[in-house]
């Protein structure tokens, strides 16, 4: 830990599935601490595989992956759980426990991190306030709209105060207005020091906000550059 300045580093990473499909081909990538990065690409470009790699759901066929100081290629057993607690992940389909209340969905990750009851009682209202859901703390998740569920998922991801937030297609289920609000919220979180990686295929949204964009196509990085956003002009 602390050996790498980079939040994410991939060296000559290849991922080949058992079906023979090459999902990632010789990927070299470096994302520094505090950056906001858009990962873009069409369906099947390798974005989901990249996310699976960064969560240590899969290991590369070859090459090395470092995230938040962990060498994911060598991570085993309960160290995987420890690593996952050090990052925050927001899934496209939210992955909230539907029977739990909003409060419970956020607090259980703090339980997982073995935090004290006092800390949990302070931290959960704080992160719910960040995503403007403190009035819905007692609501069941299934009673919420898609946008609200997305924000619960963000609150859950932020609960452990992670250094890295990976957000997968967060606007897939939202209308344009809520999409803009959500990315605005992620930008705000980034300004507070959290590295944010947002995976999306919505180029218009990326053009609007601007920043560093890494484009994937057929498992390879086709470009990696910083563009100016139109929101800066407004």
């Amino acid at each position: 830990m602390g050996e790498y300045k980079e939040m994410v580093e991939m060296k000559n990473v290849n991922v080949r599935y058992s079906s023979g499909v090459d999902a990632l081909v010789d990927v070299n990538l470096r994302i520094n601490d505090g950056e906001f990065v858009f990962i873009v690409g069409e369906n099947g470009a390798g974005k989901s595989t990249l996310m699976k790699l960064m969560m240590r759901e899969i290991v590369p066929s070859s090459g090395r992956v470092f995230v938040n100081g962990y060498n994911l290629s060598r991570l085993k057993g309960n160290k995987i759980a420890k690593f996952r607690r050090s990052i925050g992940v927001v899934f496209q389909e939210f992955r909230l426990i539907q029977d739990y209340t909003v409060y419970e969905n956020v607090s259980f990750v703090l339980r997982i991190a073995d935090q004290s009851g006092k800390y949990i009682r302070q931290r959960v209202p704080y992160v719910l306030n960040l995503v403007e859901l403190n009035t819905k703390a007692k609501s069941r998740t299934r009673e919420l709209s898609g946008g609200e569920q997305q924000r619960v998922a963000i609150a859950r991801a932020l609960a452990n105060d992670p250094g890295l937030l990976i957000v997968d297609e967060p606007t897939g289920n939202l209308d344009p207005r809520h999409s803009l609000e959500l990315v605005g919220l992620l930008k705000e979180i980034n300004r507070c020091g959290t590295t944010v990686i947002m995976i999306t295929h919505e180029h218009e949204l990326v053009q609007y906000f601007g920043g560093r964009i890494i484009n994937f196509d057929k498992g390879s990085i086709t470009f990696d550059r910083v563009i100016g956003g139109s929101d800066e002009d407004e």
Binding site: M55, E57, N78, A81, R95, R111, I112, A113, R156
Partner: protein, 301 residues
Amino acid sequence: MRTSNVSYLVKKGITSVWKNFVMSFASFCILLVSLLQVSVTVLFMLNVNIIMNNIENTNEITIYVKDGATQEQKDHIQDVLEKDENLTDIAYKSSEEALEEFKATLDDVAVLFDYLPKNPMPETFLVRVKDLTKISYSVAAISSIDGVDQVKAPYEFAAALVNIRDTFSIIIIAMLVTLIAVSIVVVSNTIRTSVFARREEISIMKYVGATNGFIKLPFFVEGMFIGVLAGCASFGLAWFIYNSVFSLFSAENFSLWQMFGFFNLIPFNKIMWVVLAANCAAGALLGAAGTVISTGKYLKV
């Protein structure tokens, strides 16, 4: 892990029982049937053992002392019999006592024995065998004692009893092993269904960094809790069944059964705490084992 978080997980496990009522009830019923079958079989076996012991205790070896044996020889016989660990209830019967007993069975003609010049009844030792399977060794040892004329032992009776007991033990053990194996398979399959219904919840927990222990604990508690509930219910039903059977054989008109020692059935209140503890422990163990077997598959995320 902090105590507060452990108690949170325990609470989660117990509340899950009510949240997943249908699957919990299915697990409960299957555990109940399994535990009840095992309980009734074990109680049956315990009582059959007691009945067999009662029947065994009716065995008696008669040792006839040689006519004219000296007091020293008779003392030696008594001494050897007392030292044999397989023999119990050693009793000496003089020829006079034997004659009186015999006369008592003859009623009117008994008076004829008063005209005999000499008492024809031999002196005897009466002993019981603790372990019927070793009766032939004991008889051989007794026969070789100086002063012993003849030994009469119920070999056929002993052989038949040993045979029945052995056969019965094999059947009971086979039944128990089968019942326990079937219980574990059925219970783990039922819990597997319950865990399958919550596989999404498990995978979410894995993705946000939960350890296997953190995920398993509520399921473990849930399985144990259902197991203990099933154990208590099985205990109640076993009590009811046992007492019904007990009162049936304790009735006065069952003199034939009583002859075979059925009056010695164990009263349930003498073993109730053991039965309750065994049922609850077995229920908890089966529930927990079923959970451990079932959750493993969904933890590989």
